[in-house]
Amino acid sequence: MAVLEADQVTKTFDEGREAVPVLKGVSLQLEPGEIVTLEGPSGSGKTTLLSILGAILTPTGGRVVVNGHEIVASRANDLAAIRRQAIGFVFQQFNLFPALSALENVEYALNIKGMNGGGARREAEAALDAVGLAERKHFLPRDLSGGQKQRVAVARALAGRPPILLADEPTANLDSQVGLQILEMFRDLAKRDARALLIVTHDPKVRGIADRVLRIRDGLLLNGNE
């Protein structure tokens, strides 16, 4: 059964008097444990689709079901709850909190999900251990390399065991070797716990880790998915 499902999703932005259609009827499904990449040129609608699948934006039309929750016309509070329960994000810019240590960055995400105290601390430590950063758990982001920051971001996304992981250009700010190592680690961790992983990327090397590759252009998924 699909853990993430989009059916004829459209999204139109109003820019002044003009309505700009960004997504024109996108349908896809992600199964648990499936690794999928979404490729496409700039302006093709990748990030908008990722935002809708991640319950950050609502679609203009169509239907999106995230882990059993339909998000059509959801209120902002409902969307936040869906994000808390079902989704782990990894961002291109890492988006770590600069005042928090690696461990605290992961633990805070768990706090937001409602987990507190020693349980949250232990799970955050386990997540950092899983990405190989146990030794640097007390380092602030400014004292970590780009690859290490992205490992913390991956640990944060994994914490709380969300069934869906969404990554936006996770290798864009890393050198190719480090980026590939992190992606392989990310893939292994996702597969281990049967989580669906969707990676938006420009980087053709990323498709090497994917079970399936989606291509988007001008707001439409292209046929011939690999």
């Binding site: 936040a80 709850a81 989704i87 988006n95 005042a99 805070y108 937001i112």
Partner: protein, 375 residues
């Protein structure tokens, strides 16, 4: 639980220090302004507070205790004959001028009674025996006179209206709203020194009630017998004297404006620093939303930061006020901070800081979590 609010606040220590300084400045300003004003008002009624009289008979429409008008001293006999009056005495409170050894002149408020001890005046004697005031041209002078008249010692002479009077005692804490020192002298001596104005005249009649006497009944009878005088209870008279300074002189308005400006400075500093901090951390707030946090989580962060600034700023401001007290006392200014003022400033500081954070609340409520995808 990870405290993102405090950790972020302390991560930028300089900004936090500026915020705290703004709050502390506002708190200190309010404490000093209001405290000094309360200290001056306390001076304004210090004699009323200490004199052991339940009723004060004054000339009609006397505005405050320092600005007395005369009336015939014989009226005291009419008061003494009223049932329920245990004791009634004339009191002169009059502005005198000293001719100082340097040739300069300096004013003093003179309190003159025949029996000081019966009325608990003066209430804090440092040197001298009050009984001796009856024995000749003697006076007690408050220590605060040193600031205006220079050092003086018991045994020295001073000139009052051309009369040499010997200082035989020193008191403490007897000064007026305007910090004019108070001189204590025998009633008859005062009348003879200022005979043109005071011969056969007094400025107040102090009344002590007999045990069990009804104050209002006695007051009504005094009013009936002295229709051209006013009769006040101790509290009414103190309140009237204070109100004169607060309302009639514009000092109350002045203090209110200063307090308002102090608060405004605090609010502007806190609002400005919190808003700037919010703008700089928009992406982090966007991340909080993206990982599942709601507006409430972000409001909590901002409220906690504002509260921390309020608490630390209050502590530093209050500490500053405490440290200023001895310095103020050195120039005979009292800084009075009653618990209710401390509590009001504490609550007000939090309210103002949280109010300042409201501007940031509006900004973060509109944060689009999709901004986390923007580079």
């Amino acid at each position: 639980m990870v405290d993102l609010a405090l950790k972020t606040l302390l991560h930028d220590r300089l900004r936090f220090a500026i915020t705290v300084a703004g709050v502390a400045f506002a708190v200190l300003l309010v404490f000093v302004q209001v405290g000094l004003f309360l200290g001056l008002l306390d001076n304004a009624t210090v004699t009323i507070k200490h004199i052991d009289a339940e009723l004060w008979v004054t000339s009609r429409n006397t505005p405050n205790v320092d600005f007395a008008h005369v009336f015939p001293e014989s009226r005291v006999d009419r008061v003494r004959s009223i049932p329920g009056v245990a004791r009634a005495d004339n009191l002169i409170a009059w502005f005198f001028t000293y001719q100082l050894p340097s040739g300069a002149q300096e004013g003093s408020i003179l309190y003159a009674l025949k029996d000081f001890k019966s009325w608990n005046l003066p209430w804090d004697v440092m040197e001298g025996n009050l009984e001796d005031l009856r024995r000749g041209p003697y006076l007690f002078l408050d220590g605060s006179a040193t600031k205006r008249m220079g050092p003086f010692a018991v045994g020295e002479y001073r000139e009052l209206n051309g009369r040499r009077v010997q200082i035989i005692g020193r008191t403490r804490g007897a000064l007026s709203f305007t910090t004019t020192p108070i001189t204590f002298m025998d009633y008859d001596l005062a009348q003879s020194i200022q005979s043109q104005s005071l011969r056969g005249q007094t400025t107040y009649i102090l009344v002590k009630l007999a045990p069990g006497a009804d104050l209002e009944t006695v007051r009504a009878e005094i009013r009936r017998r002295l229709p051209y005088n006013d009769v006040f209870t101790r509290d009414e008279w103190a309140s009237r004297s204070r109100n004169y300074w607060v309302v009639s002189t514009g000092l109350g308005l002045n203090m209110g404006l200063t307090v308002f400006l102090g608060c405004l400075v605090g609010v502007v500093v806190v609002a400005q620093t919190l808003y700037t901090s919010t703008m700089e951390h928009l992406k982090e707030f966007g991340t909080v939303k993206a990982i599942g946090g709601g507006n409430l989580d972000i409001y909590r962060i901002l409220a906690k930061q504002a509260s921390a600034a309020a608490l630390v700023g209050f502590v530093f401001g209050a500490l500053g006020a405490v440290l200023l007290r001895p310095a103020m006392a050195g120039v005979d200014l009292k800084l009075i901070v009653p618990p209710v003022l401390g509590a009001a400033v504490f609550v007000g500081t939090f309210a103002l800081c949280l109010g300042a954070a409201m501007i940031s609340f509006r900004k973060v409520a509109a944060i689009d979590p999709a901004l986390v995808f923007r580079t």
